[in-house]
Amino acid sequence: MRLAVALFLAAVAPIGLHAQSQWVLTQSTLTWHVVHPMHEVDGTSHEAKGKGNCSAGACDFLIAVQLKTFDSGDSNRDLHMIQTVRGGQFPMVIVRTHLAQSALESGVIDADLEVEFAGQTAHYSHVPLHRVAHGNDIQITGTVPATCSDFKIDRPSFLAVPIRNEIPVTVDTTWRPM
């Protein structure tokens, strides 16, 4: 009898792993980093919204954040950022990823990201995201290697010198199963 139960559990375990589940973003820190020969500036938002749906062994995650929630410590710079990235027309940044559900169990997730920003969509392949479990929650951290040219953004300049093309966005998110 015990053997039969054990065999049954072994048989249904993969089904359980691929069961439908949902995740919600509970905490987030997204930070863009801009480098100019005379300045280095970070702008941070803690107000991203996100959700994840897993079914049939695959997961779709989406994170959305309003551009106006990024704070660089200077309201003038923040408004200039919104203008430069056409935030009046496209006020949101949306990141999507499609993963195998089993990838959520590994320490480093190899993610393909689709980023909608400034009216453009860019794809970033094989972005390493680090996963740490905290009880039920999982913390996902990583850096999106964004550039101004990926989104056709005219680089802002100071004293006629433009900022660097690279505008990496570091991501620190905490997800909770629903």
Binding site: S75, D78, Q89
Partner: protein
């Protein structure tokens, strides 16, 4: 909204450019100011009048500074405000310093004119006109601080990156 943001950025870029251009006549006016000053011979006690060329140059540079400053200020005032955004960070210092350098930009040429008319009357510069250089230096200091405020933090060793 995007149109408003574009207009705002355009106006503030012109404001920035004119503000930096204004530094040129401002510094030049300061540099030539000593030549436009009445001097006193300590041994004889006589007043040595400056040359009219030095006075004219100083006055012209001062007037250019004030005019350019006016255009600079116009573009900052004309830039559209974005509702719900409160000034925060370095821009707040930049705006607050206006309360020092804007009255200074108005007062400095007035006091300079008063000082000049007293000199032309053969008088020693006295009264409120004697504050001309103090007001000018305060204005220069506030104006410089205002530029630094919006440029801070400056990564001085920029060649290392």
């Amino acid at each position: 909204m995007q149109k408003k943001l574009n207009q705002r950025t355009h106006d503030l870029k012109v404001h920035q450019t004119l503000g930096l251009v204004t530094v040129v006549p401002l510094c030049a006016a300061v540099i030539v100011s000593s030549g436009a000053k009445q001097k006193h011979n300590k041994t004889t006690g006589l007043i040595i009048e400056p040359s009219s060329g030095a006075i004219d140059l100083h006055a012209a540079l001062g007037a250019s500074t004030a005019a350019l400053y006016g255009f600079t200020a116009y573009y900052a005032i004309a830039a559209p405000r974005i509702p719900g955004v409160k000034p925060k960070g370095a821009i707040k210092w930049h705006r607050d310093l206006v309360w020092i350098h804007a009255p200074g930009m108005v007062l400095t040429p007035i006091l300079g004119g008063l000082a000049l008319s007293q000199e032309n009357s053969g008088e020693k510069v006295h009264g409120i006109a004697s504050a001309h250089s103090y007001v000018a230096w305060t204005t220069v200091g506030a104006y410089g601080a205002s530029i630094i405020a919006v440029s801070w933090p400056i990564h001085l060793k920029f060649w290392e990156k």
